[in-house]
C-alpha cells in the first residue's frame, strides 16, 4: 500500500534522523582527535566507570538486604565499595565539570550535551541524598529527621517524605537510578554525535563554520 508520496511513518523519520546524526562510525569511533590525548579528558569516562560500580554494588546490596550489609564481613565490604564508588563518582564528575566549564564545552551546538550533564549532576545529588536516608542505621535516622524540617519548611514534606523509608528506598533503588541512567545515556550519545569539544585556542573548521 505504501507509495513514495505517502507520509513517512515516525519510525522512518527516527531511522533517517539516527543515520544522519549518529552513524555507527560516530557511535563507536576507534580514533579521537589529537587534543583528546590529555588527562583532563579521562574524567568523563572515570565518572561512567564509577557509575557502573555503583550500580553493580547497589544491585548486590539490594538482593542481599540490610541485615547482610550491616552484619557480615562481605556485606560491610560491598557496602563500603558502594559508598566509596559514590565518593569517587562525585569527585570525578566535579573535575569533569570544571574541565568542561573552562573549555566552554557547550560550543559547536553542544548545548544539549551541557544541559544533560547538568541534569545528571543534579539528579545524582538527589540520588545520593536518598541513599543516605536508606542506610537503615542511626545516621540515616538523624539525617532524615533533620531533612524533614527543611522539606516541611518549603511545603513539600507531604509529597516528599524523607522519614518514609519505603518511599525513599524506592526512589533510591528504582526511580532515580532509571532517571540518571537515561540522562547519562542521552549525554553519552550526544557526546558521540557531536564529538569531543576542541580546545578554545585550537583552530577548528567545524567551529569556524558554526559558532
Amino acid at each position: 500500500m505504501s507509495t513514495s508520496t505517502e507520509k513517512e511513518m515516525w519510525v522512518t523519520k527516527l531511522r533517517k534522523g539516527w543515520q544522519k546524526n549518529l552513524p555507527v562510525d560516530k557511535l563507536l569511533p576507534d580514533t579521537q582527535p589529537a587534543y583528546v590525548a590529555s588527562w583532563i579528558y579521562l574524567f568523563g569516562v572515570a565518572t561512567l566507570a564509577s557509575l557502573g560500580l555503583i550500580i553493580a554494588t547497589g544491585l548486590w546490596l539490594s538482593f542481599e538486604g540490610a541485615s547482610w550489609y550491616h552484619g557480615s564481613n562481605v556485606g560491610h565490604f560491598v557496602n563500603s565499595l558502594h559508598f566509596w564508588s559514590v565518593q569517587f563518582f562525585f569527585i570525578f564528575m566535579v573535575v569533569h565539570l570544571w574541565g568542561k566549564f573552562w573549555m566552554a564545552a557547550w560550543r559547536g551546538r553542544r548545548m544539549l550535551t551541557w544541559i544533560t550533564g547538568a541534569l545528571a549532576f543534579v539528579g545524582s545529588i538527589a540520588t545520593a541524598f536518598t541513599g543516605y536516608l536508606v542506610q537503615s542505621n542511626f545516621d540515616s535516622q538523624w539525617i532524615s529527621y533533620e531533612a524533614k524540617d527543611g522539606f516541611n519548611s518549603v511545603g513539600i514534606g507531604s509529597r516528599f517524605t524523607v522519614t518514609n523509608f519505603g518511599q525513599m528506598l524506592l526512589l533510591h533503588v528504582a526511580f532515580l537510578p532509571v532517571i540518571i541512567g537515561v540522562i547519562t545515556l542521552i549525554h553519552v550519545l550526544l557526546v558521540r554525535a557531536k564529538g569531543v569539544v576542541p580546545p578554545i585556542d585550537a583552530f577548528n573548521k567545524e567551529l569556524g563554520e558554526r559558532k
Binding site: A37, S38, W39, L42, I91, V95
Partner: protein, 54 residues
C-alpha cells in the same frame, strides 16, 4: 580494624571563619579535587608524542 574504628568514631573538626564553616574532611576533599584538576592539566599524557605527524 582498631585504628579505623577509632578514626571513624572521632567527631568532625570544623574550620569556622565568620559566616563560613567547613569540616576539615570536606576541605581536604575539595583541595584534593583541585590538585587532581591541576595535575590533569599539566601532567604529560603517556604516548602523546604527536604520532599523527610522522
Amino acid at each position: 580494624m582498631g585504628i579505623f574504628d577509632h578514626f571513624m568514631n572521632l567527631r568532625a573538626v570544623y574550620i569556622h571563619l565568620g559566616w563560613f564553616q567547613i569540616s576539615i574532611t570536606n576541605l581536604l576533599v575539595i583541595i584534593g579535587m583541585l590538585v587532581l584538576f591541576g595535575l590533569a592539566l599539566f601532567l604529560p599524557f603517556p604516548g602523546n608524542k604527536k604520532e599523527g605527524q610522522k
